[in-house]
């Protein structure tokens, strides 16, 4: 008789063991940035701790255009795994989300996501296909506070004031503006981050531009960004090795005071924190100034999103994980991993009080209606692929701004035709 209960126990035990073996392994593809990897590791570790039957396999893909190709190739061949981290906005639209990505409109976590983010991951059929991953970013200019203090400069509100400051910095024998054309993408900042100023003067620009009515070359406000690139080069404000310097160099220069300014997105703060923690409070951040001091505002980049490929066989488990990412707890985990470098797009996810100075400089723009504008790539499906070559040319004095803007318009036209857009 004593055998029976133990046999029952054994049976029960083996049943539990059998259940425990029903493991779900979710394969995750992300870019290889240190911040991305850290945030994803924190999220997956916490989720597995709460759900021991779900584990993750994280794979890194190249960034930039090489990564775009890889993601498209894998989606087209049904090999994109269960969870995909990728840009929102125009790059998201290029993935043909209706066919290739799962509909996430109804997952529990969407209730926490701020509407302005939902709009940049909404497919053409009106369904939401992603949840935010990481903080929103501002595009503008980092400045070195020590140099400002030493030369008695104040933060400029117009481009003219900015150039006047640069002249003083140059006169003091310092590098006024760091540029890093060795990473070609970084050359686009003066043009892209000027978008707040463009729309302040020409409110319809994004719509007219997408409809083939407005052009960079014949819109003076839009041309200004190209002109800025030419002007800082001609005035001799740049670092000597601007043609080959990399993003890392730019960050180092502005953090350590080798240069006074560096036009960049706010995610660079993570890099400063990792490599120059002692200089974190030496840098400030300003929106790119325009012509009118009364209309000073910030151009904003939405963060990347997490998606579920339609071909994934673990849809339910993946959706549950994405709901977790979009929760306040998930948001806090990401802040814990990378610190607060910008506002997260999750309701009730507050940033800690002791944010770095550069973040504190940026937050007021977000807190007042109308002081931010999304970058053009979040408003229009077209962004010419050769922009970074043109901005390098203008910024290195190879080609005048007006000519480059005209060529860029042709580049945009080619893209619109390739996308099969109406009106082109």
């Amino acid at each position: 008789m004593r055998l029976i209960p133990s046999a029952a126990l054994l049976a029960a035990f083996s049943l539990v063991a059998g259940l425990a073996q029903a493991q779900t392994v979710l394969s995750v593809t992300t870019d290889g940035n240190a911040e991305t990897v850290a945030a994803m590791e924190a999220l997956t570790a916490a989720y597995t701790a709460a759900h021991p039957d779900v584990t993750f396999e994280i794979e890194n893909r190249p960034g930039g255009a090489d990564g775009d190709n890889l993601v498209k190739t894998r989606l087209a061949t049904g090999e994109a795994g269960d969870i995909l981290q990728y840009n929102s906005g125009s790059l998201f639209q290029a993935l043909k989300p209706v066919e290739n990505l799962a509909d996430l409109s109804d997952i529990a976590g969407q209730a926490n996501v701020i509407d302005s983010f939902k709009s940049v991951v909404t497919a053409s059929d009106g369904t939401v296909r992603g949840v935010p991953f990481g903080p929103a970013m501002g595009g503008g200019i980092y400045y070195n506070k020590k140099i400002d203090a030493e030369l008695g400069l104040s933060v400029p509100k117009t481009w003219a004031e900015f150039m006047a400051n640069n002249e003083k910095i140059k006169a003091a024998g310092k590098v006024a503006v760091a540029q890093t054309y060795g990473d070609t993408w970084s050359s686009q900042l003066f043009v892209l981050a000027d978008y707040y100023n463009v729309q302040a003067q020409v409110p319809n620009f994004a719509a007219d531009y997408a409809a083939n009515k407005a052009k960079y070359a014949n819109t003076p406000a839009a041309m200004a960004g190209f002109q800025h690139l030419e002007d800082v080069f001609k005035a001799g404000y740049l670092n000597e090795d601007f043609g080959v310097a990399k993003f890392d160099d730019g960050v180092r220069m502005v953090a350590t005071g080798e240069a006074a300014h560096y036009p960049m997105l706010t995610f660079a703060l993570g890099n400063i924190k990792q490599n120059f923690p002692e200089n974190l409070e030496d840098v400030g951040f300003m929106a790119q100034p325009g012509d009118d001091a009364a209309k000073n505002g910030l151009t904003v980049w939405m963060p990347a999103a997490l998606y579920i490929p339609a071909a994934s066989e673990n849809q339910e488990a993946a959706k549950d994980f994405l709901s977790f990412v979009a929760s306040v707890e998930g948001c806090n985990l990401m802040i814990g991993a990378n610190g607060a470098t910008g506002p997260y797009l999750i309701k009730d996810c507050a940033l800690p009080a002791d944010v770095p100075g550069a973040v504190a400089d940026m937050l007021p723009y977000f807190q007042t209606e109308g002081l931010t504008a999304p970058a053009l790539e979040f408003l229009s499906p077209i962004k010419g692929p050769a922009l970074e070559q043109f901005t390098v040319e203008v910024g290195s004095g190879i080609r005048p701004a007006a000519e480059a803007a005209g060529l860029y318009d042709q580049d945009v036209e080619k893209q619109a035709k390739q996308l099969g857009l109406p009106n082109w």
């Binding site: 190709n69 498209k72 290029a94 054309y181 190879i398 893209q415 035709k417 390739q418």
Partner: protein, 288 residues
């Protein structure tokens, strides 16, 4: 066909290679010819006829890319074959530390393109690079090798030569080994100097190797992409763009149909240059 003698060189020798080559190379390639006539985003393809070809010829930087391609291909293949042959002769002439030197010349072939890109970007850095620091010692203010628009293409061609000359040398060394010593013996008896021996014996008899080196390096040069992409990405601006990098940028931008059309054009261009050349090489071979 019972009367026909069975060839000692049966065609079934080609079969295993043909199966792999046809399924994994030819079939996809023919599929891609069709895609060159479409607007293709990888997910769906719309047939648009010759539009992609028109568009590709309208590329504002196509002409420059074409000229750069030719300069680059001729420069690298000429320098690789000449230097390769001279090095091969030197390294088979019994000089001191010959074995070591052979290895040294070949070392760069061993490093991956990614590694070479990272290393040369550092070495050719305008202010911190060892090349310009060395030049500064002799009073020369070195240029920015990879970001000067007039210089970038030539700097990359030099890196390509650095990486590729070891392979050309190796092929030439194998070719020199195939020349019987009797020929040199006969030339010496005729009183030929070393230089004369080089021109009258080495150069004509090493021809199979020369054909291989020139064909491979010319095709490699015309298609060249890896090293350019790992060092300048065609920049600054478009100044070191070659056809292959122009095509790759279309591909990167997601213009898959256009990129495929560009590939067909590149294929035609190489065929136009290489086919007459190999025909000429082969005819000469029969003459010998």
């Amino acid at each position: 066909m019972a009367s026909r003698q069975k060839s000692p060189y049966p065609y079934w020798f080609v079969l295993p290679a043909a199966v792999v080559f046809v399924t994994l190379f030819l079939v996809p390639t023919f599929a891609s010819f069709w895609f060159s006539m479409t607007r293709w985003d990888l997910f769906e393809a719309h047939f648009i006829g010759w539009d992609n070809y028109h568009q590709f010829f309208k590329e504002p930087f196509l002409v420059q890319g074409l000229v750069n391609t030719l300069i680059y291909a001729v420069l690298t293949s000429a320098s690789k074959s000449v230097l390769g042959l001279l090095l091969a002769v030197l390294l088979t002439s019994g000089i001191l530390w010959q074995g070591f030197l052979r290895s040294v010349v070949f070392f760069p072939v061993l490093v991956s393109t990614i590694g070479i890109g990272i290393t040369f970007q550092a070495l050719m850095h305008p202010t911190k690079g060892v090349i310009n620091i060395a030049l500064a010692y002799v009073g020369i203010d070195g240029p920015s090798w990879l970001s000067d628009p007039g210089l970038a293409l030539y700097s990359v061609a030099f890196i390509d030569l650095w990486k590729g000359v070891g392979l050309a040398t190796l092929i030439y060394i194998a070719g020199l080994a195939a020349i019987a010593p009797d020929y040199y013996e006969a030339a010496r008896i005729d009183g030929a100097t070393r230089v004369q021996q080089f021109w009258r014996v080495t150069v004509p008899l090493v021809r199979p190797a020369t054909v291989t080196v020139i064909t491979l390096s010319l095709i490699g040069g015309l298609r060249s992409f890896d090293i350019i992409w790992a060092t300048t990405r065609g920049g600054p601006g478009f100044s070191s763009d070659v056809l292959a990098s122009v095509i790759y940028k279309q591909y990167q931008a997601g213009f898959y149909g256009l990129a495929t059309a560009g590939n067909v054009i590149l294929f035609m261009l190489i065929a136009i240059i290489i086919l007459p050349l190999t025909w000429w090489f082969n005819r000469r071979e029969v003459d010998l």
